[in-house]
């Protein structure tokens, strides 16, 4: 080999983690598998989605689960024009903070839309469920604009 030839090759490092979900996130994921979205009511009355195990103010364990709507409103969003392989959608999409009806805090998920100019803060969106649900956040395939979904 010539002194200037430098070897290079691709390799993949994989961490095959499994995670225990605990009673609260486990219940949330079990709900998603049933195509329901559940939050939890905090001590100040706010409904948090996804549910938290402990109250953000008092640190008390939370267990007052509340089912929320499958529609909501975009609070904030960011357009991804060139999705990467690990992204949930392979065509251009938006990451968005979505406040579901009946919830008091927004949840991050992806929004499928034909183009960036169809989206706006305050736009109504609706869940599109995965064809098969398995108890994972990806059971929500994405959100889409409510008028498109209907």
């Amino acid at each position: 080999m010539s002194p200037t030839e430098v070897l290079s090759e691709a390799f993949e490092l994989g961490f095959t983690y499994t995670r225990s979900t605990g009673p609260v996130v486990g219940r949330f994921l079990t709900g998603l598998r049933d195509r329901r979205i559940e939050g939890v009511r905090a001590s100040d009355g706010r409904v948090m989605v996804p549910p938290m195990e402990y109250d953000p103010d008092t640190a008390a364990a939370l267990d007052d689960f509340v089912e929320v709507g499958q529609q909501g409103e975009i609070v904030s969003w960011c357009w991804v024009s060139e999705p990467r392989k690990a992204h949930p959608l392979q065509q251009p999409f938006a990451w968005a903070m979505i406040r579901l009806d009946g919830a008091d805090v927004p949840m991050i998920h992806c929004v499928s839309a034909a183009s960036e100019d169809q989206l706006a803060t305050g736009a109504r969106v609706q869940v599109r469920w995965a064809e098969e649900t398995r108890g994972h956040i990806a059971d929500i395939a994405c959100f889409e604009l409510a008028e498109v979904a209907q």
Binding site: M1, P3, L7, E9, F11, G14, R19, R33, D34, R35
Partner: protein, 174 residues
């Protein structure tokens, strides 16, 4: 709609990192020599220490290393551990031995497997020899050496480990 299945208690959350590894000049030469069935190191022009795998510089002196040295297939056990716990995806069945080995002619150890041995009899200072794959299977990989196996040679005194020349205990010190 309710579901009769058990509640969710866990999820799979794998992380895969994709790298493009570029070996650099000195490691590329090292890997190319491996493909030809040779273990090589580089000698520091300042302190004369021989490093394997070579990185193109001496970590002690901070100067470039150029001189390539062919090392022996014989080595000395500097330290070792017996692995009893299976690692997912690892085809080697426990218990097996992973050792820090110093090849004759080098002053630093690398990690490799010890096999064809009685695990309980492996010890520091033990003499071992590389077992290579058939030549047709040689690649730019340390795996060209399947493992090291014990040699019928006297042990190396602890203070001499890492100081043997390429001809071993009989040859002169490097």
């Amino acid at each position: 709609m309710s579901d009769a299945r058990e509640p969710v208690t866990g999820i799979e959350a794998p992380v895969y990192l994709q790298y493009q590894f570029t070996a650099g000049r000195a490691p590329s030469r090292f890997l190319s020599a491996l493909k030809q069935g040779r273990l090589t190191g580089q000698r520091c022009p300042g302190c004369s220490q021989v490093y394997i795998p070579p990185r193109g510089a001496c970590p002690a002196c901070g100067i470039a290393t150029e001189e390539e040295v062919t090392l022996s297939n014989k080595a000395t056990v500097q330290s070792f551990t017996i692995v009893y716990i299976p690692i997912p995806g690892n085809p080697i069945k426990p218990p097996y031995i992973v050792a820090n080995l110093v090849p004759d002619g080098a002053n630093i150890s690398f990690i490799h497997l010890l096999s064809e041995c009685v695990n309980e009899e492996v010890h520091i200072g033990q003499r071992v020899e590389a077992v290579w794959k058939p030549e047709a299977e040689w690649d730019y990989k340390m795996d060209n050496i399947l493992y090291y196996k014990p040699l019928e040679e006297p042990d190396v005194p602890v203070e001499m480990i890492g100081k043997l020349g390429v001809d071993g205990l009989e040859g002169k010190q490097s």
